[in-house]
Amino acid sequence: MNRQQTQTVAKVVITAVAAIVVIPIIYVVFYTVARGIQAISWDFLTQFPTNGMTEGGIFPAIVGTILLTFGTAIAAIPLGISAAIYLAEYATENRLTRAIRLAIVNLAGIPSIVYGLFGLGVFVLFLNMGTSIIAGALTLGLMTLPIVISTSEEAINTVPQEFRVVSYSVGATRWQTVRYQILPQATPGIITGVILGLGRAAGETAPILFTAAAFYVPQLPQSMFDQTMALPYHLYVISTQVPGMPLDIQFATALVLLTFVLSMIVVATIFRTIMRRRREW
């Protein structure tokens, strides 16, 4: 083979491998849409499940997932962004910061069921929150923290060092530099990371299994100390626990969850693209 041929073969192989990655994703999405779309209706989205969940809608599960996602955002965003600012702008490289970074990497690697057990032990039982939205949101928030921290830190580090030097040189303090120069520039990246993290949290079952999710609740949650239905858990329940469950309702539920998570990712991507285009440097 001459160099030209090697080039061609390499290109074909790499394209094929890339396609292998893409095909299952497209397949999953199309299959879910194809199987689920018939059962989607206005009633399905706005009604409570009826007749042992084999009929009716998934309204309380949708509301529950939205509430849990909001709660996760409230729990994870302030803490995560503060930690990222500390690591990127304040911490000097020493044993403590290395330990913190190692902890963050490890947090990201912990299986989600372990977060669920941790949430059960600490939030539900020890802090006596009971199976509740707040316990679930805190558990999901904890799980989302490493994503928020590492993407935010990266966004902050992407802001050129020159802006910091200039800011200090005109007599800005460190906090003023962070607040007025660094954060405005890093915000698009931070928001993107936060949305991606929340998207992942919204689709998780294991962390809310023991902390927030209910099999069936006949009314919407009245406070954050109530338990709630949630899309991923509802999907798990109707797929494994309910005999005679119509398959199209399962796929319709999956489709709603998938749409919820994917639309968050799409929003994050569009937002990032717009903000990057607007950036001056």
Binding site: V166, S169, Q181, E280, W281
Partner: protein
């Protein structure tokens, strides 16, 4: 030389990687003159400048010995207000770096951070500093445009104006004409004559030629050491040291 505004005494500076950038440097900078620090690369010019307003603090792991007195105070004194020091010793960098935002925002950022909010004061400082840096006529109608829309030469004068807006005592100019065309360069050089009436200017020049054009007084640095200090005529016409003469006449460097 009784009225020196900055008195550098036996300053040595070592970077975190062990590089000795300055070795026992002593200099007295007189008020209201253009003081030029020149020499080949790695002579320590920029390091010395960044030490004077303690931007050197940003260098992790770097150490220094010696003292710098500014207006009678040791700038390394624990009780010194570094933020206030940087407002009194402004700096313009080799590469002009506007902050993201408008021309107006660039000029008022330092003032706002210092707590000045009065719109009249801000407007007045903007106009004065732009006039001093010979940029007013070009940008007075587009103060709300992005600072990144300016040309290279305009950006550099904007950065100069940004320092001047704080009404400092000293301005550090680190090779301010490095990326500029000859016309922009000469505008900047000419503005120095006006500026030194009000400010003390310490400048790293672009070339020996520029050094001899703008300097009232000059120090020749080589490998972190001061080889010779003197008035413009001494350094550029009758240097006492062989190394200075060789460098000024272009025999090395």
């Amino acid at each position: 030389m009784t009225d020196s505004i900055i008195n550098i005494q036996n300053i040595s500076f070592t970077y975190g990687d062990g590089t000795e950038a300055l070795k026992n440097v002593s200099l007295k900078i007189p008020r209201n003159e253009v003081f030029v620090l020149f020499g080949p690369s790695r002579a320590g010019k920029t390091t010395l400048m960044r030490l004077l307003n303690r931007l050197s603090d940003l260098q992790e792991g770097a150490t220094h010995a010696g003292d710098v007195e500014f207006a009678g105070q040791n700038i390394f004194n624990k009780n010194i207000d570094v933020i206030a020091l940087r407002r009194r010793i402004g700096m313009v960098f080799a590469v002009p770096i506007p902050l993201p935002g408008t021309i107006y925002e660039n000029l008022t950022f330092g003032l706002k951070m210092a707590g000045i909010k009065d719109a009249n004061t801000l407007n007045e400082r903007v106009e004065t500093s732009l006039r001093q840096s010979a940029l007013w006529d070009e940008v007075k109608d587009r103060l709300d445009d992005s600072a990144f829309a300016l040309s290279g030469g305009q950006k550099q004068r904007l950065c100069l104006a940004r320092s001047l807006a704080l009404e400092p005592d000293v301005i550090l100019l680190d090779n301010p004409t490095s990326g500029l065309d000859p016309i922009s360069t000469s505008i900047v050089e000419q503005s120095l004559t006006e500026l030194k009436k009000q400010y003390t200017i310490i400048m790293v020049p672009h070339s020996v030629q520029q050094a001899s054009r703008v300097a009232d007084r000059a120090a020749f640095l080589l490998d972190g050491e001061v080889i010779e200090v003197g008035g413009q005529a001494q350094i550029f016409l009758h240097p006492k040291e062989k190394k200075t003469e060789d460098y000024v006449t272009g025999r090395f460097g």
